[in-house]
Structures are given as C-alpha cells and as structure tokens.
Symmetry: none
Subunit: 422 residues, 2 copies
C-alpha cells in the first residue's frame, strides 16, 4: 500500500432503499464519526441508487474533490450491484477472477449447507491490484483501490464497503481502521466513562467547565437510552501519549459531581459490567421477566461466556406462567395484580429459588401502548432483586416515555443496574 | 405558484454535525420516503457543512440536475446559517425584511417569556418572491423559491426546510406536502414479498427474467439477516391503479420457483407473521431457549398485544435449569448433551406442557465464540417444535456465520419459522 497521507475524504452510500427512504443512512454517520476520529475531514456525503451513469458521475465528482472516497453498498451478487465494476473502470483496472475470494464464498455456502449460485461468483471478481478486506459475516469481501485515476494524473484511494451494517462495521473495525491509521499522521484514543441514574443534560451541566476548557482531550457526553457516556478523546502522535492524556482527564472527571453516577469505565453495556462484577464475586444470576419479555436475558446472553454467571430464567408473560414456573402465589396476583410491588418481589425470589441462583432479578409492568388504566397507566413498572437476605423492589414511573421499545429498554437497564447495589 | 410538474428532485442536508457523524440523517430518509410517495424520483441525496463555497457548489449541481431541490438546515439565526442567502443568490433574488415573519418570531419569543436577540431578525430576511411556510414550533419559517435559475434559462424550485426534525416534519406535513401534491402527476406504491429459507442470490436468479423485463412495476430483492424481501414498486396516476399493477406483478412472482419460500406479503418481521397466524387459528405459543438466550421471546414481545398468543417460556441456559424448569430428563442430557436433537425436542415439549400451550418451540446450540468441539463446532444448532401431534427437530449448520450475534439471529429466525409449517 501507499504511505501517502489522506487529507480529505467523502462518503458515498449506494442503494435504492436509501433513495426511497426505506432505511435511514446510519452507515454514513458511523463512517463520518470514524473519519473525524482519525482527523480526516469529510466535506461531503452523498447517496445514489444502483444506476450506472449516476453512480459513475457521483464517484468521479467525489474522487476529483477528495483524496479518499469510501462507498457502502452495491457489492452484492445481483446485476444491480455495480460499485466494484464502476470503480475498476474509473481507475482503469481490469476485473479478474479471485480464486481466494471464490473459495471463501464457497466455504461460506458449504458450511451453511447451501449451494452457491452462478451469480455469487460475481462477488469473486476483483479489480486488478485491489486490496481485499475479508468478510466473515457474508459472501462479498470489501476492497480498496489505490492509484491513479484514469485520465487524471492524481493518485486517489477508494474503499468499497458492504451495505448491511452488521457486515460493514466489523470489516471496518478489523481491517479498514488499521489501514487508515497507517495513512494518517495522528493517533486518536478514546475512553468512555459510563454513567447510570443521571440524564444527559444534568451530566453536561456538572461537566460544563471541563467540557468547555478541554480541547485535547475533548470531553463529550452522549447518551444511549437510559444511559449516559462521557467520551474522552485525545489526539497525539503515539497511542501511549494519547492514552496518558485521556487517563489524566478521567481523573479530573472523577472529582466532579458526576462521580457517584459512574458505574464503570469503557464498559460496552450495563449487562457487561453486571456479568463481570458477579463473576469477580463468584455469584450466579437468574431472571424472571414479564414486561421486558426476554430482553434482559437476551442482553445478558449477548455476552459470550456468560454461562458461568447467568443460569437462566423465565419469561412469565401470562399470569398462569408466573404461578406454574416460578411459584408466584395466585393470592398475590389476585390481591395486587401482575403489575405490583408484591408480584415483582415474588418473581425475583421465585426464579432465584427455582434455579438455585444467588441473585434473582425481575421486571413487571405495562409497556403499552395498550393495557394502561387510570391507576396503572402505561409506563407503570416494578423491578425487583432477591438475595438470601431478602427482596428489594424499585417502582419506576416511565409514563413520559410512551413508546413500548423505550419503556422496555429502560426497564431492562433498571433491572440490571440493581446488581450494582448489592 | 407555478403549476409546472416536478419530474425529479434531490435532497441536500446542511450541517456540520451531519458531516461529523454526530447525528444520523433521519431527515433525508423522511423526505425521500415522502417524495417517493408523491412519485417524484430522487436520484441523489447530499450532505454538506456550513461552508459558503461548498454549499453554493452543491446547490448549483443539484439544481442543474433536478427540477426540485429540498434542503434542510442552515436557516438559523447565526452567521453560519447561509442556506437562504445562498439560494437567493442562485435565483438572483434580493433579500428583504419580512415584517410578517418578524412579528411571528417576536410572538414566539414573547409567548415563552424570552426577549428576541438582534440576530433573530436575520431570520425575518427573505428572498424576494419567496413562498413562506410558517413554523409553529420554532423561530425560522421554511420557504420556497420558484423561478429561473440565474444565468440558465431553466425554471427550478428550491424548498428550504429547518434542520430539527420536530420543526421540519410538522411544516412539511402541513404546508409542503399540499404544495408538492399540486405539482406532481404520479403516485408510487410498493409492496414487499417476504421470503424465508432462500438467499438473496438464489432468489435473484429465480426472478431474473421478471426483474430484467419489469420496469413498471419494478422488482428488486433486498435482504435482512436470514431473510430476503422482494420489493415490487409501481408508478401510476392513482393509488388504485398502482396497487393493481403491484398486485398482478406479485401474482406473477408466485408462479416462479420462489413461490415455496414466500411466507407473507408486507410483513414487518417473521415474528409478526407468526403472531398473526397463530391468532387467526386461536393457538397459543410457549418458548424454551438455550443459545438464543431470550432473543426469540424478546422479538415476540416486541409486538404489542402478543399476550393472547404468547404465554411465556424459559431461558434454560444451564443444564440444571433445563431439568428443573421444563423437565428435560437428566438421562437425555447425559447421553446426548445439551446441544442435541433429543434435548431440543424435550425442551419444546417440556415448555409446551409447562405452560399448557398448543405449540412449543425451542433452540439449543453453540453460538460461540467459545464452546465448540470437533464433533459440535460453533454454529451447531438444533431448533424444535412441539404440538399435540409430537415433536419435529431441525438441525442447523451455521458454522460459517462465526459471529455470535448472527448465529443467534439466524437461530431465532429458524425457530420462529417452524410455525409456518404447522
């Protein structure tokens, strides 16, 4: 590869579904943020469909304006997918049959018991001299072409990525990011301070002085649903240097009023910290879910190797399942209803005993949009935790959130975060 | 206003926060979908920052390519906000002080007990002859300019909207949509044919003749993880006409070899169809999950009102929980292991009986990255379904997928899709 430094970039996303507004262009935001992190300015982003003339025109314009063009989409097996072929033409490269890519594609199909079709071989056709970035999650690899743009004397680079984010992002992190780091002068290093139990606005106010004064490292809050993170990012010539700058900035943050809300540093999620803490203490967990309907356990089992901590649990969606699976008493349900402090407590205790776990957590509530009453409107939720020392219940009033997905996510966060307090 | 029909449009979103990837461009998707619905083809979308030269260049290019340019952003009170001024220049219009807009802005501040600042008056400056779309939710109105592009003989239209979606969307719905309806001839109508159990490439090959020959309606495949959709889109003068064209095209698709893979039309997801089918037949469902760890039940309960069909289930992650919660026999586990045909069958049967459901489905497998063996590598999965007529097990070989999330998603799809066969 060339060592020429990249001074400017553009992003071009290819896909009719984007032009029709059927999907939101999260790829562009992801790539723009990564390039900003690398200190590569992006002056333009574009979206075009699978139309040869318009794609060629858009690619040509971008490559004339910027050192680097990153595209997403149009690498699939269908005749609509023409990104690779168009780029090859612009860089004056012939397409060749890449046996290695072909083997990977064949392997991908074989191991899934599928037979590869004629047009999958299209995905093994590569522009001469292309750098190939393998794709573990799909058939088409990503690729780059470096060199002189046909007709112009200028040396340019095009990186072609896949459209589906679950394929694009891993390839970017594993292959493209290291490639780009070699072609920039700076190293960017970030750490995240994980907060729980405080809103973004409140956190921002507590950190305003630091945020305003800090330029390198920068201090920026951003929030996921029900969770706030403070991203500390330093730019330096070596990673060691950047890392030291970030760590001393984090020490300053720990001296601010946000300190009590910090539950971890660089945790990918609440559940990730929960699993690690319980593992450190040799404790096991069981979960009983009603309104979250499996979300809490899905999140715990997203984490590879959680089985030494997480034993299992139940989704007791119906009343009868609360009784039959984890022994909630019919009297409790009759007297207080399924959405009540008492039921939440009996669920947490019941699942803990049923699975012989050290800790049981539970959720019950009204996620909506239906099912609300004047006494218990949509957003009325209880989470509980049970240990050998007894049960603790936390009522949540999420009526302001309204939509079902947000209420469920908040509830799962609160249920999991109970573990921090034991 | 002119009655000239709009035959093509582009969308240009202005804002540094978009270029830096700090926010996802939901405005572009929203506007693209609305324009598609109006039958106005959008061939390009763009994003630029608040840079005068680059903004002027991008606007000029778009207006030269399309009849209509819709912009978002750059209408605020700061000196960075230059969309209006740039458009005025391109259309050769002077800016004038619009007292009416000024009054509305003053009202807006008064009603909030704020005093308006000097630079808010900038928002009352308008290009001569502009059509003004009032903004009830903010200070800056939206606007349109129709007329001859300075220097060119061509008549073009530019509509300038605000950046914040909560201001942009209401103005679009109340004012811009009716405006655009008067300036278009066509309606676009789309339906999706949902396929399961076939890859995109294979589906595309089976449909190639139709895809190539069909221009209106168009037929295009796209894929989610483990699911392929065929989008059929027609353009006509009335929705009824477009709908009829789409439906007859779908009848043709049903005569192709993809027919056996069609599980629904216009379904938002496999679980959505599962719930609807079971509801139609008055059947109830229970779920026992091992490797999917709650994902199947989470997806079922994403659907509001699923409780009449979905009773609940278990996440039997540990062996002991398989025994204690749903009565898998220890002998079966000892003889065959947790990841086996026999265990999958006993899980599906056990959860069906434990919850008194008509149907039980289960998943057990090795999602990885750890836990694989030569006999049972990562990706070895079994899904099962149990009814009063007995159990059926489907072995899956997902070894090629490698990553945990994809294996779990595929497994959930396969487990749910079993319901289609009963």
């Amino acid at each position: 590869m060339t060592n020429e430094k990249i001074k400017s970039a553009e992003i071009l996303c290819v896909g009719t579904e984007l032009l029709l507004g059927e999907i939101v262009n999260t790829n562009a935001a992801y790539l723009a943020e990564k390039l900003a992190g690398l200190g590569i300015p992006v002056f333009r982003q574009g979206v075009v469909g699978d139309n040869p003339e318009r794609l060629r025109a858009a690619m040509t314009e971008s490559l004339n304006r910027a050192d680097l063009l990153i595209t997403t989409g149009g690498l699939g097996p269908t005749c609509d997918d023409i990104t690779k072929e168009t780029a090859a033409e612009l860089f004056g490269r012939k397409m060749y049959f890449d046996q290695d890519s072909q083997n990977k594609i064949a392997e991908y199909f074989a191991s899934r018991g599928c037979t590869m079709t004629e047009n999958n071989t299209k995905q093994a056709m590569m522009p001469e001299g292309a750098i190939i970035f393998p794709n573990d999650r799909g058939t088409a690899p990503a690729l780059a072409i470096e060199g002189e743009l046909a007709g112009s004397g200028e040396t340019k680079t095009i990186i072609m990525l896949l459209g589906p984010p679950h394929e694009m992002i891993p390839i970017f992190e594993q292959h493209v990011l290291p490639y780009l780091q070699k072609r920039t002068d700076y190293v960017i290093f970030s750490r995240n301070v994980n907060l729980f139990g405080i809103g973004e606005a409140a956190a921002e106010q507590m950190l305003r002085d630091i945020m305003v004064s800090a330029t390198n490292p920068t201090v920026a809050p951003y929030c996921k649903i029900g969770e706030v993170r403070i991203r500390v990012t330093a730019r330096a010539h070596t990673e060691a240097e950047a890392r030291a700058m970030v760590d001393s900035q984090i020490e300053l943050i720990k001296k601010t009023p946000v300190a009590p809300y910090i539950y971890d540093i660089d945790s990918s999620s609440i559940e990730d910290t929960v699993i690690r803490r319980l593992r450190e203490r040799g404790l096991t967990l069981a979960v009983a879910e009603s309104c979250t309907g499996g979300l809490i356990q899905k999140r715990l089992t997203d984490i590879a190797g959680c089985s030494d901590v997480f034993l299992g649990g139940c989704v007791t969606y119906s009343n009868s399942s609360k009784v039959s699976l984890i022994g909630v008493s019919p009297e409790t349900l009759a007297a207080n209803g399924a959405v009540s402090e008492q039921t939440a407590a009996e669920m947490a205790r019941g699942v803990r005993l049923a699975l012989g776990a050290d800790i049981g957590i539970s959720s019950t509530g009204i996620a909506g949009p239906g099912g609300g009453t004047p006494e218990k409107p949509v957003g009325t939720v209880f989470v509980a935790i049970s240990t050998k020392d007894g049960e603790r219940v936390k009522p949540l009033h999420l009526t302001a959130l309204r939509d079902r997905a947000t209420i469920r996510t908040h509830t799962a966060n609160e249920a999991l975060a109970q573990v921090f307090s034991i």
